[in-house]
């Protein structure tokens, strides 16, 4: 039996279950405890678990994330909230040097089972500094793992996998998905864990593969419906879910099936997850491609504020449909 939960509720349920499972799991971040979370992800958890397990921090991202990394080396399992993933910029050294390298530099003697989570997306009218899309950037650092769940079921399953993983895992959520609802397996039916590194076909199709992650998956699904209904194009939608480890097999499988690829990525055009996926596809499925791999990315400028036009800077169903039609 599954229930309908919002993305936010499913994520909270995952956190709650892990708090119950392991006394070393501790949630930390700005406003996560008494305020119930800036986006209410942690609502009720401080009340339930108390001061030790759910901790409010000052606005000192480098300090408290580094603190979590240090504690994790002693076996604590900190789950740190960045109110926005965009605030990685003030904690970057801790995120990409200390978390990513401590195992390596110690020859495997130290390790860092930390989770850093929070929303990483554009589209909420908060402008250039608050709308970074950093999953490709962090995935580029060996030592780190990155995932970007698109559905309530996946966010619950992936946060649980992330917390149990013994390496640093950065979970990129999306404020525009928090309220979205979907089916989530009932805890009574067993532990719902979605392993890192496993992509998911969210829609079967035969004419073209649309590969995406995060909210772009939702856009891709909507576009696929339009393509089907209005243009008789049957698109397959592959949700990467996890960026590193990356499910290359699933990527190549869908490419070999449809021979055409559109990548949808909320990153800007230079780089991003999609540039990497593009390279891998042409490298490993060169002979299966009937046409160049195309992308829909965020228009290449800092994030504009204006609510009148912001959604046009981002990938959206219309832009996806147009790009697919342009590939015909």
């Amino acid at each position: 039996m599954s229930r309908i939960l919002s993305y936010r509720e499913a994520l909270r349920e995952g956190l709650d279950e892990e708090l119950a499972r392991d006394p070393n799991v501790v949630l930390m971040g700005e406003e996560v405890a008494q305020y119930n979370g800036a986006y209410k992800v942690t609502e009720g958890l401080w009340k339930k678990w108390g001061d030790k397990r759910v901790v409010d921090t000052p606005i000192s991202e480098a300090g408290f994330i580094g603190m979590g990394i240090g504690a994790s080396m002693l076996g604590i399992r900190p789950v740190m909230e960045l109110m926005f993933w965009s605030f990685h910029s003030v904690a970057f050294d801790q995120l990409v040097n200390n978390a990513a390298n401590v195992r390596y530099m110690s020859g495997g003697l130290a390790n860092c089972p930390i989770v850093v989570r929070g929303p990483a997306n554009g589209g909420t009218g908060v402008g250039a500094t608050h709308s970074h899309i950093p999953e490709g950037m962090f995935a580029a650092f060996p030592g780190l793992k990155v995932c970007a769940p698109a559905t309530p079921s996946d966010v619950k399953g992936l946060i649980k996998a992330a917390i149990r993983d013994n390496d640093p895992v950065y979970v990129m959520e999306n404020t525009l998905l928090y309220g979205m609802t979907g089916e989530v397996p009932d805890p009574a039916d067993g532990d719902h864990v979605v392993p890192l590194g496993l992509a998911d076909i969210k829609r079967e199709g035969s004419d073209i593969s649309i590969i995406a992650h995060g909210r772009s998956v939702i856009h891709a699904l909507e576009a696929a419906e339009t393509l089907q209904k209005e243009h008789n194009i049957n698109a397959e939608v592959l949700d990467l879910r996890s960026i590193r480890p990356l499910d290359q097999d699933a990527i190549l499988k869908t490419v070999k099936k449809t021979n055409r690829v559109l990548l949808v990525d909320e990153s800007k055009g230079f780089g991003g997850v999609s540039a990497m996926v593009s390279h891998l596809i042409q490298e490993h499925a060169f002979d299966y491609l009937d046409a160049p791999i195309k992308r829909v990315t965020t228009i290449d400028a800092p994030a504009i504020y204006s609510p009148h036009i912001e959604h046009e800077q981002l990938p959206n169903p219309r832009r996806i449909v147009e790009r697919v039609l342009g590939m015909a």
Partner: protein, 358 residues
């Protein structure tokens, strides 16, 4: 002066306030009222869904921006965080371009690209409006560094919140300011809370936040932010120090915000008691306090004050109308203002691919 002077002094009598003409006093009062009316209009239309993103209201803190900026000469510069409307109007920006910015219109001060958190007017020495907590503090230091480099007799007032004092970049800026003798004044607008977190829950300190300046052998002071006279009197000392001695100061101005952290802050009344809010409104409201003083001084009457209020409300309403009627940016507008060189179509901008769109 390295310790908080007690507030029993009558700052109206300090020379910098004695020198104010009645007209200028009314001007300062008017500025404070305009900020409040402007923001109340913004609140109304934000709640009506006419704007996006966040709306961080300055209401309750008006004497800080107006009092400090009223002291500025032509080479004094300003920079603040995302709670930036008060400073914008105080430096002389128009309600129209500010309101339109929040509406995300082409006529906004930042062409609708920055939004509420990113008001700019370099022609009025106002350098934003910055969203990353503490991130503007090195920039403020740099503006003052630039003034010194250019041998101007000016300073930079760099505002930040009580929560922002725990960002590393601020600490680095304090050390650099003291070490290099930079004419910067860091102004902590201490409204008691960073979002839902009280000062006590976010900062360890001795007596007050400004005393952290001693760590850098820097001068500091604490100011009652509900009295614009006190704000002016004490800030002026710091500005003199900056301009004459090229020395930085850390000021802490105690103030209060009436609304939540942002309008989206549903908890605004949970982490603070209603009594606390009411007490401030009743006894410390900077506009009421100043109004009373000006009436007592015989500068104006209750009726004059009401008229100022009315005019400000009308001005705000007109700004709303202006904004409603202004055109929105187009898709093409997304791609301008990224590079100076491409905007100005220079030779350099024609070499190589600058933009990576599909």
């Amino acid at each position: 002066m390295s310790s908080a002077t007690t507030s029993t002094l009558d700052f109206a009598r300090s020379p910098i306030n004695q020198s104010l003409t009645p007209e200028r006093k009314i001007e300062l009062f008017t500025q404070m009222v305009r900020i409040r009316r402007f923001e109340q209009a913004a609140l109304k239309y934000y709640q009506a869904g006419r704007m996006g993103g966040f709306l961080h209201l300055y209401i309750g803190q008006e004497a800080v921006a107006v009092g400090t900026i009223s002291l500025a000469g032509k080479d004094d510069h300003f920079i603040t965080a995302y709670r930036d409307h008060g400073h914008a109007l105080a430096v002389g920006m128009g309600m129209n371009e500010c309101m339109a910015e929040m509406y995300g219109k082409q006529t906004g001060c930042s062409k609708g690209k920055g939004g509420s958190m990113h008001f700019f007017a370099p022609d009025k020495n106002y350098w934003g409006g910055h969203g990353i907590v503490g991130g503007q503090t090195p920039l403020g230091l740099g503006l003052a560094y630039g003034l010194k480099y250019l041998e101007k007799e000016g300073c930079c007032l760099c505002y930040l919140g009580d929560g922002a004092v725990n960002q590393g970049a601020f600490h680095e800026s304090l050390n650099l300011a003291a070490l290099f003798e930079i004419p910067v004044i860091f102004v902590i607008e201490n409204n008691g809370y960073s979002m839902g977190t009280s000062q006590k829950r976010s900062s360890a300190y001795r007596d007050c936040l400004a005393r952290r300046a001693e760590a850098y052998d820097m001068e500091w002071d604490v100011i009652n932010g509900s009295d614009i006279y006190e704000v002016r009197a004490k800030t002026q000392i710091a500005m003199e120090r900056a301009k004459k001695q090229s020395k930085p100061t850390l000021l802490e101005i105690d103030t209060y915000r009436y609304y939540g952290h942002s309008v989206a802050d549903a908890n605004a009344k949970k982490y603070r008691t209603p009594e606390e809010i009411e007490n401030y409104k009743k006894n410390h409201d900077p506009i009421s306090v100043f109004r009373m003083k000006l009436i007592a001084e015989g500068v104006f009457t209750e009726e004059d004050a009401a008229a100022i209020n009315k005019t400000a409300s009308e001005e705000a309403a007109a700004a709303v109308k202006f904004s409603e009627e202004s055109p929105a940016p187009t898709i093409a507008d997304i791609s301008t203002d990224v590079y100076w060189e491409t905007d100005n179509q220079t030779e350099a901008s024609k070499i190589g691919r600058h933009f990576f769109n599909d």
